[in-house]
Subunit: 397 residues, 4 copies
Amino acid sequence: MAVDLRPEPAVAELARRTAEFVREVVVPVEEQHHGVARTEDIRTDLQRRAKAAGVFAPHVGVGFGGHGLDMRGRAAVFEEAGYSLLGPLALNIAAPDEGNMHLLEAIATDQQRDRYLRPLAAGEVRSCFAMTEPAPGAGSDPSALTTRAERVAGGWRIDGRKWFITGADGAAFTICMARTSGEPGAQGGATMFLVDGDNPGLKTVRHIDTLDESLYGGHIELLFEDCVVTDDAVLGEVDQGFRYAQVRLGPARMTHCMRWLGLARRAQDIATERAAQRHLFGSRLGELGMVQQMIADNEIDIAASRGLILQACWELDQGGSASQATSIAKTFCAEAVWRVVDRALQICGSLGVSGDILLGRFLREVRPFRIYDGPSETHRWAIARRVLRRHDKAATR
Amino acid sequence: MAVDLRPEPAVAELARRTAEFVREVVVPVEEQHHGVARTEDIRTDLQRRAKAAGVFAPHVGVGFGGHGLDMRGRAAVFEEAGYSLLGPLALNIAAPDEGNMHLLEAIATDQQRDRYLRPLAAGEVRSCFAMTEPAPGAGSDPSALTTRAERVAGGWRIDGRKWFITGADGAAFTICMARTSGEPGAQGGATMFLVDGDNPGLKTVRHIDTLDESLYGGHIELLFEDCVVTDDAVLGEVDQGFRYAQVRLGPARMTHCMRWLGLARRAQDIATERAAQRHLFGSRLGELGMVQQMIADNEIDIAASRGLILQACWELDQGGSASQATSIAKTFCAEAVWRVVDRALQICGSLGVSGDILLGRFLREVRPFRIYDGPSETHRWAIARRVLRRHDKAATR
Amino acid sequence: MAVDLRPEPAVAELARRTAEFVREVVVPVEEQHHGVARTEDIRTDLQRRAKAAGVFAPHVGVGFGGHGLDMRGRAAVFEEAGYSLLGPLALNIAAPDEGNMHLLEAIATDQQRDRYLRPLAAGEVRSCFAMTEPAPGAGSDPSALTTRAERVAGGWRIDGRKWFITGADGAAFTICMARTSGEPGAQGGATMFLVDGDNPGLKTVRHIDTLDESLYGGHIELLFEDCVVTDDAVLGEVDQGFRYAQVRLGPARMTHCMRWLGLARRAQDIATERAAQRHLFGSRLGELGMVQQMIADNEIDIAASRGLILQACWELDQGGSASQATSIAKTFCAEAVWRVVDRALQICGSLGVSGDILLGRFLREVRPFRIYDGPSETHRWAIARRVLRRHDKAATR
Amino acid sequence: MAVDLRPEPAVAELARRTAEFVREVVVPVEEQHHGVARTEDIRTDLQRRAKAAGVFAPHVGVGFGGHGLDMRGRAAVFEEAGYSLLGPLALNIAAPDEGNMHLLEAIATDQQRDRYLRPLAAGEVRSCFAMTEPAPGAGSDPSALTTRAERVAGGWRIDGRKWFITGADGAAFTICMARTSGEPGAQGGATMFLVDGDNPGLKTVRHIDTLDESLYGGHIELLFEDCVVTDDAVLGEVDQGFRYAQVRLGPARMTHCMRWLGLARRAQDIATERAAQRHLFGSRLGELGMVQQMIADNEIDIAASRGLILQACWELDQGGSASQATSIAKTFCAEAVWRVVDRALQICGSLGVSGDILLGRFLREVRPFRIYDGPSETHRWAIARRVLRRHDKAATR
C-alpha cells in the first residue's frame, strides 16, 4: 500500500520483450530505411512480426487482441517501443491510431467498435483524427473550430477544411470534429463523426511537406465538402465533442511523450557509443568534461521526463482529468527530448549531421513535438492559469 | 501491486498535519526573524510546539520517539517541513542532525545510541558531521582526506583541519571522518569517530561567514589537534568510514532536496500571491505572458524535482545504493530550486529584492546547495562515468 | 572614416590609469570592508585619492572639474572603475550621482548648475533621484506616476511617496519627479523638481533592507508631504519631466552596464585565479572541461556585453534616443553579468559562498540589476513592440 | 579618431544595394527552389544578375573584379547577402570558394592567381578545400592529420581520405592539406596543394547525406590515391600549411557568421510577419507575452552577434590573429543563430514546421554550424585555455 514504482511483473515482462523485439527486429529495418517506412509492405511485415513476438497492440483490450495495459503499463512498454522510430508502427501504437483506439474503446457503440475498432486494433486498416484547422481555425485554441456539421435528413452534412491530419493518406476512416452549435470563438458544441475514407465529400488537398517525415500516412490537408454521413456516424453524443476530445487528448499526450522518451534514450545510446569509441586530444571523447556534461544532462532529462510521465499516468488511471499533470509532462518532455537529441548529435560531431547515423533524422522528427499537441507556450499559459485559479480559490476561502 | 504514487494514509496524514503546523506555527516565527533562528530559545520553543503537534522527529524510529518514516515517507513530510526555512529545525530534521540520526540508527552500537542518538532525537542536544576539509583536502574528492587518526593506548589521536562543518557551534558531539590508512589521494581507509564537544583537542577556529545563514549553528572551521578519543568512540568499524559515508550521503542528499523543494513551493506561492494582487499595464501581473511563463516553469521544475526525489527514495528503500538516482535528483533539484526562487524574486520586482518579503533571503540560502553535498559538476561527472561504464559493460558482454 | 573600435589615445590612457588606480588603491579598501563603504570617511578618502591620481569625475565637463568623456569614452573608463564595487564611488561616477550630473549638465540653468552641479561634481555633496513609487505607482510603467505637484503662490507643493530612492540618506538634494498634469495611468505631464535635503516636507520613512548593499546612501523610502518648493526649483520646463527622464535614463542605463561589466571581469579574474591554483582529481581545476566551459562562457558573455554597450553608446553619441539599443544592451548585460558572477562563484566552490572572497557579495549586488532600471521583462516587451511597430510601418509603405 | 561604428559610405551603399538585390532577385528564386540550388543554371543565372547589379564578388580585390572589402566591410555586406540561403552563391561569396579566394589572394604566386583565382573570382569555376578527415584523422584536432604527401620526382604524391569536403562535386580544383613531416598526433608540418579536379588520383567516394543541403556542390568524401602533382602545385611554402590554415580559418570563420547572421534576421522577419498577422485568443500573436519574449530574445541575439563579429573583424583588419575574438564570435553566433531560427519556427507553429515557409529548411541548414568550423566545445576549450594562459603569464610577471 506504500508508494511503489515497480511495474507489475506481467507489465515488466512485456516491456522487456518489447525492448528485445525493437532492438532485434525493428532497429535493423529502421536503419535500412533511414527511419521512415514509406510502404505498406514494411508496415504489415513489421506488424506481423510484432504479433509473432506477442508484443502487438499492448494498449487495446484483450477482447480486441491486446494486452489491456492501463496508462502506467503503457508508460513502461511504449517507451521501449519508441526506442526506434518504427517501433510504434510495428506494435500498432503509433499516432493517431493508438489514440483513436483509446477513444473508440471508451465511447463508441458496440456496432461502431465492431466496424471500426476491431480492424484497426488488428492493424488491418489505419485511421486519422481530423481536428486541427488552418489559421484562423481550431489549433491552440479549440474554440476557434470552424468546420461545421449541419443536420440533413437521416444524418449530417460536414463542411470545412482541416490540416496537419496525420495518417490521413490511406486511412480507412477519419474521426472528424465539427461544430454543431455556437460560433467560432465561443466554445459552443462540437460533435465527433466517423467518416469513411471513401466518402465522396472527403478530399485530400495535399501532403504537407514537413520537417518530420516518420509518421506513417503523412500530414495531410483535407477538405470536407458536402460530406454527408448517416446518424450512426456520430461518435458518442451530439455536442459533446469537446469533452470527448479531452478523453483522447490527455492520454494521447502522454503516449506521445512515452514514445519520444524512448527515442531520447536511443539518441543517448548512440552518443554514448560514439563517446566510448572516439578518441580526441588523447582521451576518450566520453572522458572530456564538456562531453560528460552533455551525457549527464541527457541522463537527467530522461529521468525527469519519465517521472513526470508516470505522475500524469497515475493520475489518469485514478480517473482524473490530470490536465495539469499532462500539460507539465508534455511541455517538459517535448523540450527535454529535443535537448537530448540535440546534445547527442553535438557529441557525434560531423558524423551526427550526416545520414550515416540517424540523429539528424531524429532531430527532424522530434522538433515538431514542441508544437504538435499544443505548443509549449499554450501549455505554459494553461499551467499558469491553473496556478492562479488555485490561488484565487484558496484566497476566497 | 501495480505502480502506486499515493502515500500510505498515515504518511499522508502526517504530511497534512506538518503542512498545517508549518503554516500556522513556524511561518510566523520565520517571518519575525527574517528566516534565521539565532537563539536556543527560538529553537527549543519551536521544537516544543512541534512535539505538541505530534509532528516531531518523523524520520527516527518509534523507539526513539519518532514516526519511523522510510525515505518515501520522508519525501512527503520533509517537503512540507521545508516550506519554511525554520520548519526542519522545528521538526528536528534539519541538516546535519537529521543525517546523523539516520547514520547512528544504522550503524551505532546500542551504547552509542543511548548516549548520542537518544538525546539528539529528542532535540536535547545538537551534533555535527566533520568531513569536508579546506583545499587540498577532502571536498568533491573524498579520497583527498588529510585528517588522520593514529592509534594510541586505549584509543586514537586525531589531527586535522575541517571546514564548512555545519552546526558545529554548540554541538554536543561531532562525527569526525579521519584517515586511518593510506595516503591522501589514494582511497585507503577512513574511520568515523564520535568526538564529544568538550574534548580539549577539538577547537573552533572560526565561524565562516557565508551567503547562507539559516542553518542553525553556522558553518564552522574546526581544528582537531592532539584530539584523543577512546576506543568506544569508533563508529562502526575501523577503515570502513568511506562506506558508512555512503550510508549517510545518499539519504542526506535526498532529504536536502525534499526540504529545499518545500522552500521552492513557498517561493512559488509568494510569487503567485504577488502576481494575483499586483496590476501592471492594465492587467493582473499574473496574466502577462512572460510572468505566466515564469509561473509555469516553476510549476514544471517543482513537479520534475518531486518525481526525481521519489524515484531515488524508492530505490533507497529497496536497499540499493541508488547512487545514480540520487546524483541525478540532487543535481536537478539544486538547480531547479535555484531557478524557482530566482524567478519568484523576479516576478516580485523591487519588492522581491527587499527584506519586506523573504525571497532575497531564500535566494541566499539555496545558492550554496548547488555546491554543498557535491557540486553539480562533480555529480555530472559521476553520472556520465556511470553511463559510460554501463556502456562498456554491455559492450563486452 | 572606416569603422574603428580603438578609443582615442587620451581615453585609452585615462582608462589605463583608472584600471591601475582601482587595482592598487580601491581593491584593498574594498576587500577590507567586504565591498560596502559605510562611512563618509571611506568615501571622502577614496575620492581624495582619485583626485590625486587624476581619474576623478571623468564624465563631467572640464568646466566642472572632469574629463568631459562622451558615452563611448565612459564605456572604456567606467568598466575599469567597476572592477571594484567601490571604484565608481571613488571616481564619483556611482549611481545616482553620476546620472544626476549628466542630467543637470544637460538641462539645468546656470544658477542651478552652480548651486547643485558644482558641489556634486566635486564630491562635496551627494544627491538622489526620486522617481520610483511603491505599487501601484510609477515603476515599470512610468505613466502610473501618483506623486503630485500643485501650484501654490511662488512655487509648488509636492505630495507623494517614493521608494527605492538610492543614495537618499544624506543626500544634499533630490531630483523629484511629480505629476503636474493628467491622471495616473494616462501619460499626462510630469515635472522635475530640485528639492533640498533639509526641506521640512521631505521625510525619510525608512531604509529598505535589500539584497544589495553597496550603493552608498542605501535604498530609501521617502515621503513628500506638503513639501513646498519655489519656482526656481523646477528643473527644465514644467510638464516635460517624462522627456527629461529619457535624457537621463538611456545614458544611466548604459553606465550601469559599464560598471557591472567591470565587476563581471573581476569575478572572472577571481575564478580564473582559483582555477589556476586549485587541483582536483589530479588536474588543475581550470583544465577540467566543465570548468573550462564556465570560463569560456564568461569570456563570451563579457565580450558580447561590451559590444552591445558600445553600440548603444555610439548611437547615444550620435544624438539619437537609442532606446532599442539601450534596452537590448541593458537586458543582455544584466543577465550576462549575473551569469558570469554565478559561474565564477560555482568555480570557487565552498570558498565562493564564503566571505573569504567577495563573490557572494558580488552575487547579491548584481541580482537586483535585472530588476532595477526596468526589469528584463519590461525591456523585452518594449523591444518586441518596437520590432512589431517597425514591421507594421514597413508593411503599410 | 574616436570609436566609430558607421561603415564608410561606399560600403554602406554596397550593403544597401546588396540588400535590395537579395530581396528582389534572390529571395524569389530561393523560395521557388525551397532554399537549395541544385543546378548550374540557377547558379550562373543568379551570378549573372549579381554582376549586372554591381554586387558581385565584393570581397575580392579590384584587380580580380571585386570591391576589395576588408573584413569590416564584409561584415556589412555579407550579412545582407546571407538574408537568403542563395544570396552568398549569387554574390560568389559562399563557402568554400570565398575562403579559397581569400587564401589565394594572400599567399598564391602570380601564376597560381592567374590560373586559379581569376576564374574562381569570376564565377567561371568552383573550388573546394580538403582538410577534414574521418576519425581518427584531422577534425577538431588538426594535428591528427593523416593524409600524407611524399616527394616524388618533380613533385609530390598525395595519399589519404578526406570527408565533409564542401563543394567538391564539380570543383575545378581542390586545395588539399597534407602532412609533409611529422606523425599524426604531433603537429609536424603540413603543406597545401592545388589539385586539379581532373587529376586521376583524386576520387569522389560519395556524397554524404547531411542535415543541411544548401551548400552548392554538397559535402563529399574524397580519396587521394597515388595523386601526383607537380612542384608548382604547392601553395605557399612546404610545411607551412598549418600556418596558412590560420590565414584562411579566422576570416572564413567570420564570413560564415556574417552569412548566417543574415539568415537569422530573415527568420526573425518571417516570424515577425506571422506574429503581426495571426490572431490567437483575441490578440495579435505578437502581443502575447511569450511571443514577445521570443521576438525580443531574437533581437538581442542578433545584435550581440553583430557586435562580436565586428570586434573580431576589426582585430583581423589590424593584422592580428584575432584567434580569441574569432573563437568567441563563432561560438556565440553559431548558437545564437540556431536559437533565433528555432524561436522563429516556434512562433510560426505548425506552419513553421511545414514546407510552406522556409524555417524548417533554415533550421536544418544552421544546425551543423555549431559543429562545422570547430564545434562549440572545441572553441570553448580554446577560449578557456587562452584565459588561463593569460593568467599564468600575468602571475609570473
